[in-house]
């Protein structure tokens, strides 16, 4: 007797259920499947999808793309919650430069030293990101693309970009004499991670460092000078008071409207400032950030690809091949040309494709080579929250810089002390 079509319903339901519950180990044919969790690179996903599709064709491994929110703190929180709970639901992770030390210490990142020997990583990639991904002589992630803090200036108001803080102040005064009412220097003073970047840049500008072994050293003479300098910019009217609530986009919009002489920002602002509708198009230049005695390094931002240590060994090999594919010179070129992301590979700045299609990026090599990472310590993310609040209190005039730094130091020590 033939089964009636209705009798098939439970069978189909079971099959659907089984398909729904299928783990990402692979399907019946044994094809491997990887989960890549990343932050969208731009409005058009097509170039990135094509890059991943090329890997799928070559390797026969299926890649599932899971988008993370485009806010670093949120993405960090999602990763920590999922990895901390022992989740096996992700293989390849996209990591901010300041997370690698923390997650490597937690034991959540696979050691990639066999596939990517530390010596080769240091040779092929820029020094900043290479220093962030190689911890204790082992490789825990591979640099994907980089970001660097830059000084933007108005070429019609400033004849030559300033190299020191004194020259910056003089240039602002001169430009304001020429164009009354224009704001001076825009930067990021809101209570968030961007403020920490601005602070570390000033700290390096005064020749200081923030790391003493694994200990965050925030209460030093150079740090006090740096925070005095940032507070002074606001107090002396060299920066408008609005910088104490400004993030990147607040600064970029005001600068693009032609309301300021200088701006500190990341490279992403360049194509927007040069947009045909931009009021300042053709009147903007880019330089290294000034320092106390000469140009200071910009803060290194950017993202790395790592592999979850919870991924089973069988998937890890495929994941390493995916990481190699996405960090290859060809992938660097796709990211630079389609998404304006700065290559993490040194040689890519000589790549004729990038030089032709994205000359601004190719010209940034000296700045990204000089870029410096925020303190590479497992305690950075834990202490960062306390640091942001104290920096914000100082730049908004609530506490003296010396007092704010003493408080930040006490909180950072308490966190590291409890942890030891």
């Amino acid at each position: 007797m033939r089964p009636s079509p209705r009798a098939l319903v439970p069978v189909l339901l079971c099959a659907a259920l089984a398909a729904g519950c299928r783990s990402h180990e692979g399907d019946a044919r044994g094809a491997q499947r990887l989960v890549l969790r990343y932050q969208p690179l731009g409005p058009d996903p097509a170039p990135f999808r094509a890059l991943v599709a090329a890997f799928e064709r070559e390797s026969g491994v299926e890649v599932e793309l899971q988008a993370l929110p485009n806010a670093a703190d949120l993405a960090h929180q999602l990763l920590v919650t999922s990895l901390g709970a022992g989740g096996e639901d992700v293989d390849v992770l996209v990591l901010d430069v300041v997370w690698v030390a923390e997650l490597a210490r937690a034991g959540w990142l696979a050691d990639l030293s066999d596939a990517f020997p530390p010596a080769r990583v240091r040779e092929e990639f820029l020094a900043g990101p290479a220093g962030a991904v190689v911890q204790g002589g082992r490789t825990y992630a591979v640099p994907w693309y980089v970001d660097v803090g830059l000084l933007y200036y108005r070429t019609d108001l400033v004849p030559e970009p300033p190299r020191t803080y004194a020259a910056l102040a003089a240039a602002i005064r001169a430009a304001q004499a020429e164009a009354p009412g224009i704001a001076g220097y825009l930067w990021q003073g809101r209570q968030y991670e961007g403020l920490s970047c601005n602070f570390f840049e000033a700290l390096w500008g005064y020749g200081g460092t923030a790391l003493d072994g694994e200990r965050l050293r925030l209460d030093s003479p150079a740090a006090r000078e740096a925070l005095d300098h940032l507070r002074g910019l606001v107090a002396d009217g060299l920066s408008p008071r609005s910088v104490v609530t400004a993030a990147e986009e607040d600064a970029r919009r005001a600068f693009q409207e032609g309301r300021a002489v200088f701006m500190r920002n990341w490279p992403y602002a360049w194509p927007l400032l040069q947009d045909p509708a931009s009021p300042v198009r053709g009147r903007v230049g880019v330089a290294s950030l000034p320092g106390a005695e000469g140009p200071a390094p910009g803060a290194l931002g950017g993202w790395q690809l790592g592999i979850s240590s919870r991924a089973p060994a069988a998937r890890r090999a495929a994941a390493a091949r995916l990481v190699a594919h996405l960090t290859s010179p060809d992938a660097n070129a796709v990211l630079a040309i389609a998404y304006g992301r700065n290559p993490a590979r040194r040689a890519s700045y000589e790549d004729p494709r990038i030089r032709a299609a994205a000359p601004f990026i190719a010209a940034l090599l000296p700045r990204v080579e000089a870029a410096r990472a925020r303190p590479v310590t497992p305690y950075y993310m834990l202490a960062g929250d306390a640091l942001q609040g104290e920096l914000s209190a100082a730049v908004s005039g609530l506490r003296s810089p010396a007092e704010a730094l003493a408080r930040a130091q006490a909180q950072a020590d308490a966190i590291a002390g409890v942890a030891r």
């Binding site: 703190d73 960090h76 929180q77 920590v80 919650t81 901390g84 923390e102 997650l103 210490r105 937690a106 034991g107 704001a183 809101r190 209570q191 968030y192 408008p240 008071r241 609005s242 104490v244 609530t245 400004a246 607040d250 919009r253 005001a254 409207e257 309301r259 497992p378 993310m381 834990l382 960062g384 929250d385 306390a386 942001q388 609040g389 104290e390 914000s392 209190a393 100082a394 730049v395 908004s396 005039g397 609530l398 506490r399 704010a404 408080r407 966190i415 409890v418 942890a419």
Partner: protein
């Protein structure tokens, strides 16, 4: 029989409310930082740390100030609004709908709207009064008031609607009889309307103060707690400690203190609500 009928609801409550609460209380007695692989019992030391934590005391003060000022203003503004709506003649329905618009907006959307208006450089208010209202978010001692303002702007209609329902429950005859006895409009309001409105007022106070004590979204969108933690309420501090700093034990302790604050406020209003209003006849 009654107990058996209540049992499913009780079980559901235990599962979704009591369980997580006890888990949080247990977590608050531990030092747990998953990123550092730390997890051990520390007794009350998280609470002792909070007692000396300037940021925690600041957050507690911010939360209490926000709740008191926002809820007080909302009641003060909502009462005349409710009276006006109650006595409005034609177009009453349309008026009520219009008043509700701010309350219908999701808080995040309303806060983002005001964040754009108050943006200290390009915002509309900054263009009108560059150093006055436009700069409010940049001033550590004023920024919290911007959050209070947005909350008042958004929730006053809701309070007004609660009071309006209370007003409509008052029998017209009482006011009419008083007027026959020669009472002035003010006297009618003080001796009849206000006492009979008491349950509605207390209910509005209960709802709003519980809500305001847990404030998160307005502040998160407007200032992220800055400048210098001066606008940070307890729930934002708890969130950051839990999820940004990844310190689960301490974060749980802050959450529990917030919860206890909410419970205390709720009990205070409920006991006030339970008291009979003066002059009300015994049943």
């Amino acid at each position: 029989m009654g107990a058996a009928l209540v049992a499913p609801a009780g079980a559901a409550l235990a599962l979704v409310a009591l369980g997580p609460l006890l888990a949080t209380a247990w977590l608050s007695l531990r030092h747990r930082v998953p990123v550092l692989g730390e997890d051990h019992f520390v007794g009350l030391s998280n609470y002792r740390a909070l007692a000396h934590d300037a940021r925690f005391l600041g957050a507690l003060a911010n939360t209490a100030y926000f709740t008191a000022v926002a809820v007080g203003l909302e009641l003060l503004l909502a009462l005349p609004l409710a009276l006006a709506l109650h006595h409005a003649g034609r177009g009453r329905g349309a008026l009520r709908a219009a008043v509700l618009v701010p309350w219908i907006l999701p808080t995040v959307v309303a806060a983002k709207l005001w964040a754009l208006l108050l943006q200290p450089d390009l915002g509309l208010l900054a263009r009108l009064w560059p150093d006055g209202a436009g700069a409010v978010l940049t001033r550590p001692r004023l920024a919290l008031h911007a959050a209070i303002f947005v909350d008042v702007w958004k929730t006053t209609p809701f309070v007004a609607l609660l009071l309006l329902a209370g007003l409509q429950a008052i029998p017209e005859d009482l006011a009419r009889a008083a007027r026959v006895d020669g009472a002035s409009a003010l006297r009618v309001f003080r001796s009849i309307t206000l006492p009979l409105l008491r349950p509605a007022l207390l209910l509005a106070l209960l709802f709003r103060s519980l809500d305001a004590f847990r404030v998160f979204d307005v502040v998160f969108v407007l200032t992220e707690g800055g400048p210098g933690h001066t606008t940070e309420p307890l729930s934002l501090y708890a969130y950051r400690t839990l999820l940004r700093a990844g310190s689960f034990g301490l974060g749980a302790a802050i959450s529990l203190v917030t919860f206890l604050g909410v419970v205390a406020i709720g009990l205070a209003w409920l006991s006030a609500l339970g008291e009979r209003s003066p002059g009300e006849a015994p049943p």
